[in-house]
Symmetry: C2
Subunit: 421 residues, 2 copies
């Protein structure tokens, strides 16, 4: 996982991956869900697979509960990993589930999520989906004027007022975030300056107004930037609340908590975020006394708990470079191949999972089985020597893995995902 | 589809998309497979969908047959579109099918492809896949020494020698190609300099040697670069043939024929390629008299015959920009969103399919329903004014569409693909 150091020249140290010490190593093997990875592969019955460690997800939630004030509600944005077992586990651990489609809504409800604590966001909700959401009694984050009309009709037809929050497109951005989802012209939410008019319409249509949703961006590793976005979001919501038809009960300040993927990335410091949220919660107690602050996390809850495990099918040397050709790759794990929203490809942390205590002594390319040069899992990374049959683990793979990848591409077997431990 | 021209300033003309005149417009609507697109949407029963026009695929094959010498065999690389109906159509039109996995092999055989004319390439073929290919009697493009051992065992077990061609990693690149798949260190094929040794082993193991596979790159719009790669591939094969255990019967010179996706791209000129191949075929008649030259095309056969059709779900104006939010996007058509191997995002050609004869009079963003800023189908493109319910067509979508996209992402309905006309 780390770049080699030239013993003779201690001068410039290349950026390294954050240590993947959430997983133990025992008997030379990475341990996932309490099992040596080679035994786990036998249990799964085939490679490649994604494995998520139940205990690590529990530990992450506990860590957040410890760091964040008790008044703050924690939601799981299931788009990060919609595997039913994962949603079921988190439905019992966090305070609510955020869904992005009627398909996700079904999984959340099947998993036993309380509809009162489910919210539905997305810029292109179809009429039928909006109607399903009203029937289910979940909170709908409204993103356009059109949705209001559809919701009013559904409320009338179904005899229950739609529960709505207004998703706001703020007039600021989350600095240093991997994906900017607010500020400037956007398809997400309603421009802050147009919100008062929309709030008036919510009231006039008799919809049940519950609050605001502000989501500034995702995958941010700088606590101060997240705190600043939270403060600005709070201020904006406070200002907009003056135009609301009823008190704010739900104040979703988004997420954006990042995890370290690439060399040089370091883990997010939760302490300042906890302190910042405590200050905001204290203000809310007097300024918006009915409001619960909600933090919506996807990747941060599950990303570090998962690995992608693939087996070396071939070992080739081409013009001086070693290639470990694996049975898995881009078709299961598009993000790790560097082809999902990344401008410059960088390596995810990778290990030879069944040789996890051996020194990294050769530079290798880990590639997948597809007939495309895009199918790369590690580009010239220092790893212990591996051979056909060895297992490669790609860390930080619990979020945006299987469900965010083109599984059918080139007709390889579908990928299994397991929740273990 | 084209950028607006300022009438007052005729000076600098922005690059435009190639005209998408393979589809007719009638009654204001794009016609696909002989049907107005809105009627086709009713037949399919839901949007979004991919539609491929059977007549356009036939016409493309006919055009190639006209331009290329009759001695040259034409193969379909089904990775471009593995829809069984498309593979079935092409199995009856071209001379062979190239598969990239046992999954694709099944589809090709089910479609009635003649196993004698099926070839199987891929850098990470699993042992079981190699065995399946020997059982089926298809040609295997060998990419490593390890594959030879597996094939020898399978040949012995099954009582039939594996049919093999050697995939060569040449020592040159295809200039100006979208993806470089040869030259330098690569996971594909066997380095040219190592081929003689591999050929000796093929002979010693009693495998049935049939020829060479050289694939220099894909998506090239410069005929001269393709001709040069073909000439170099031919020369290299001729040189390597001296070490072969038996005469070359199969000489796959790859594909690489591109189609125009982006503003400024122009259609490939087939005439010089036809002349070049005629010259090579004439040489082969004396220099490798048993050899058939094969050209392997995927995208070029089906890409321009397909459209992706999605319906406008919402029309929003955010800070002066218009957003058409559609029911389809990145999850069905990753490449059109700019997230599949593209460094800089550019627009595919897009039209308002049911307003196809109206002037482009506004600049709009066409986006999908996903909660990610990556979900873009057109970035500030000039299009006729469209509203909720209108149909957007993304052209050049017959290849690397549905099967190359993360369909499960965010739990939206699966995408339909139809072959019509």
């Amino acid at each position: 996982m780390s770049e080699p150091l030239d013993a003779a020249q201690p001068a410039r140290r290349l950026p390294e991956h954050a240590p993947m010490d959430q997983f133990q190593v025992a008997g030379g093997e990475l341990v996932v869900g309490g099992m040596a990875v080679s035994l786990l592969a036998e249990q799964v019955g085939a490679t490649p697979f994604f494995a998520l460690d139940r205990a690590l997800i529990r530990a992450r939630v506990a860590e957040l509960r410890q760091a964040l004030p008790t008044q703050v509600k924690l939601h799981f944005a299931m788009k990060a990993n919609p595997m039913p077992a994962v949603v079921g586990l988190l439905a019992g651990l966090v305070d609510g589930i955020d869904v992005a489609s009627a398909g996700e809504l079904k999984v959340a409800l099947d998993a036993g999520a309380n509809p009162a604590e489910v919210s539905f966001a997305g810029p292109g909700k179809r009429d039928a989906e909006l109607r399903q959401a009203v029937a289910a009694g979940v909170l709908i984050n409204v993103e356009s004027n059109r949705e209001l009309a559809v919701l009013a009709q559904a409320s009338q037809d179904l005899g229950r007022p739609a529960r709505v929050a207004v998703r706001v497109n703020p007039d600021y951005e989350l600095k240093g975030s991997g994906m900017k989802m607010a500020g400037g012209p956007k398809q997400f939410g309603i421009d802050a300056e147009a919100v008062p008019e929309v709030l008036a319409r919510v009231g006039a249509l008799g919809l049940s107004f519950e609050g605001f949703h502000l989501f500034a961006g995702s995958q941010n590793l700088r606590a101060e930037a997240i705190c600043e976005a939270q403060r600005k979001s709070y201020e904006l919501a406070l200002r907009l609340a003056e135009s609301a038809p009823s008190p704010v009960q739900f104040l979703n300040l988004g997420g954006g908590f990042g995890i370290p993927y690439f060399p040089g990335d370091t883990r997010l410091d939760l302490a300042p975020i906890g302190a910042n949220l405590a200050a905001l919660a204290a203000r809310a107690a007097s300024e918006m006394p009915m409001a619960h602050i909600v933090i919506e996390l996807g990747r941060y809850l599950v990303g570090e708990a998962g690995v992608y495990v693939t087996r070396v099918v071939d070992r080739k040397v081409s013009r001086g470079q070693v290639f470990l050709v694996c049975d898995g790759g881009l078709h299961h794990h598009l993000a790790a191949s560097g082809n999902f929203g990344q401008v410059l490809r960088k390596n995810y942390p990778v290990a030879i999972a069944n040789q996890a205590d051996r020194p990294a002594d050769e530079s290798v390319n880990v590639v997948g089985p597809l007939c495309t040069p895009l199918d790369i899992l590690a580009d010239r990374m220092s790893l212990p020597r591996a051979d056909v049959g060895d297992l490669v683990a790609v860390f930080q793979s619990g979020a945006y893995g299987r469900s965010a990848s083109p599984q059918d591409f080139l007709g390889h077997p579908a990928c299994t995902e397991v929740l273990v431990g």
